[in-house]
């Protein structure tokens, strides 16, 4: 399905109310939507929702041979998948400009900014290193995918723990989580991508929704300045580490400074929320509380239903008890059966044929009439 274009009336309406200092959902310019982080039962699995935008991230690891240029560094691979689940206009298994852009932004934010201690992922130099794979799945696209996906990626990476290994001679033993406590990944800093929608020459909207994104990317009537999306990657030390601009050109450098200033505040608060979530998750896990995505479904939501104990009274059955008897039955069956109407004939050496016995083919005549 093609992406539905935004209607002209929506466009002008949104432009007008934004110029008037309001937003469609009642937020102020610098306000973000509600951020929620939920963790799954595995380490390195999390679902982040930013308003209605939902992203699932999962980190998995395996032992591989390192790249020749960097023999003592682990490998990190980020893969973003936008399936039709996110919104109907996306096609499955297709690399679109959108996917490529999102993927590259995350790679730049987490791979190129060197926030992960790759050297700690090395097991044996030039032979064995850990390769981390982050799978980011977009579940629902209600605008600002980048911010949501980046928080999900960071949360998954920070939450992830890899199995411990010990080296015995030239052998490497990978311990399961039950055997030895897994090891968390070392992160030097926590960068997050924050999106700003630029309207006109000096309005910056934090965390734009789907419609705001669409409106600001539209071409404006001639004369008035077009808008764009500015993505700022910012860590908790107020260091920008990624910048990306899509849409029309920025006319005023100040807007970039304004965005960076705002991002430095927001970046820190997001990282704080994230760290808190991880700590509380860790303490729960220490208390052997089972964490599961099933917890997302709560009775607080009006459209959810929870059934605890569903029991059914059924006949008990044990195969061993009945087997001998049923075997006998079956044997009886076999004996009753009339002799097989098929013949097995060895024709050539190493060849066998299964044929219908000649006298059994009375019906063939009927069908041959039909065929003619």
């Amino acid at each position: 399905m093609k992406e539905t274009q935004i209607s002209n009336s929506e466009k002008t309406f949104v432009q007008k109310i934004i110029a008037g200092g309001h937003r469609l959902d009642g937020r102020i310019y610098s306000e973000t939507r509600n951020l929620q982080i939920a963790f799954g039962s595995d380490y390195g699995s999390c679902m982040v929702s930013l308003g209605e935008t939902k992203v699932l991230a999962q980190v998995s690891c395996e032992v591989v041979q390192p790249k020749q240029i960097r023999p003592n560094e682990g490998i990190i691979f980020i893969n973003v998948d936008i399936s039709p689940m996110a919104a109907p206009q996306f096609e499955a298994n297709r690399q679109t400009d959108h996917t490529v852009n999102l993927n590259r932004l995350l790679e730049k934010c987490y791979k190129d900014s060197k926030c992960i201690d790759l050297e700690s992922l090395c097991i044996v130099v030039e032979e064995k290193v850990w390769s981390l794979r982050v799978d980011v799945k977009i579940l629902n696209h209600e605008g600002n995918l980048i911010e949501c996906a980046s928080i999900a990626t960071l949360a998954a990476l920070a939450h992830f723990k890899r199995p411990d290994v010990t080296r015995v001679g030239d052998k490497v033993i990978i311990h399961s989580i039950a055997e030895k406590d897994p090891i968390p990944t070392v992160l030097y800093h926590y960068p997050v991508c924050l999106t700003y929608a630029i309207f006109g020459s000096d309005i910056l909207l934090s965390d734009p929704s789907y419609i705001e994104e669409a409106v600001c990317m539209c071409t404006f009537e001639e004369g008035s300045a077009g808008g764009g999306l500015l993505v700022v990657g910012m860590n908790q030390y107020k260091e920008p580490c990624l910048l990306d601009l899509t849409g029309a050109a920025i006319h005023n450098v100040n807007i970039v400074h304004k965005a960076i200033l705002s991002a430095s505040e927001k970046g820190k608060s997001v990282v704080d929320v994230l760290k808190k979530a991880i700590i509380s998750d860790d303490t729960l896990r220490l208390k052997r509380v089972k964490i599961n995505y099933a917890d997302i479904i709560t009775t607080e939501h009006k459209q959810s239903l929870i059934k605890k104990d569903i029991s059914i009274c059924l006949k008990n059955y044990n195969a061993n008890d009945i087997n001998p008897e049923s075997d006998v039955e079956m044997d009886d069956d076999v004996q009753i059966v009339e002799p097989s109407k098929y013949d097995v004939v060895p024709t050539l050496p190493k060849t066998a044929e299964l044929k219908v016995k000649a006298e059994k083919s009375a019906w063939i005549e009927i069908s041959s009439e039909e065929d003619d």
């Binding site: 004939v345 190493k350 066998a352 299964l354 063939i364």
Partner: protein
Amino acid sequence: MSDVYKVIHPNKYFNDYISLNVRPDGRKFDEQRSIKLNANAISNADASALIKCGNTTVVCGITLELATPKAEEPDHGFLVTNVELLPLCSSKFKPGPPSDYAQVISNTVNDIIKNSKCIDLKDLCIVSDKLAWVLYCDMVCLDNDGSIIDACITTLITSLKSLSLPAVSFDVETEEVKVDISNKTLLKVTGLPVATSFAIYQSPESNIVLTDPTTFEEEMCGGIGANLIVCWNQGLLCGVQKYGGGNIPTESQKNLLQVAKKRSKLVEEVIETCLS
């Protein structure tokens, strides 16, 4: 004349036959096609077999290779099965990477072999964590006329049963591998899984089950994916699979299993005769 009828009104054409209690190729509903099985059809391969079930023709070749076992399972060898549906066997297949359909067939064949536990992967290991056999079992469909999974399983099992592994000596110190081709031992194959396909035709009155369907019959019954596949392994079931399609009438359920069981006995006999 009947050919034209078949093309223009395939549903009606088929229904006409079914209402007369006969199938377009003259078989009864529960009758199977004749089978021709030949072992060692391809001498290059380490083991091979060719089967013709009616028009469906599948050839299976096994090639042996040595490899290092996976770190997680150091004393397991590998059994790699792959079904190839080339464009030559049916107009429905296009050249290029395997289609979803071919992947599903491969997966089903692989599952049946795994479930039947007829090969113990530990038998394929030579030295733990160092050396193990890899059995590449490639099944190529030459002519696709229905019930392809049955044919695949039978060729595969026949090939496996005729496969013998050469003796291998492994020097732990030098890691040198010596293969002695003159000294071969037969691979241990326990059990003998035989798959039987059924197509379920939803006629206006009731659902009719057809044994060993042809491609045309499969199409009339909702595509190959909708087949019921029953797999017997020497008196025990090792797989009953059915994905969508017509519903099985509860009363014929039991009967179906018996038909499959009888057929499995016959096929077993065919395989034994072929290999003896």
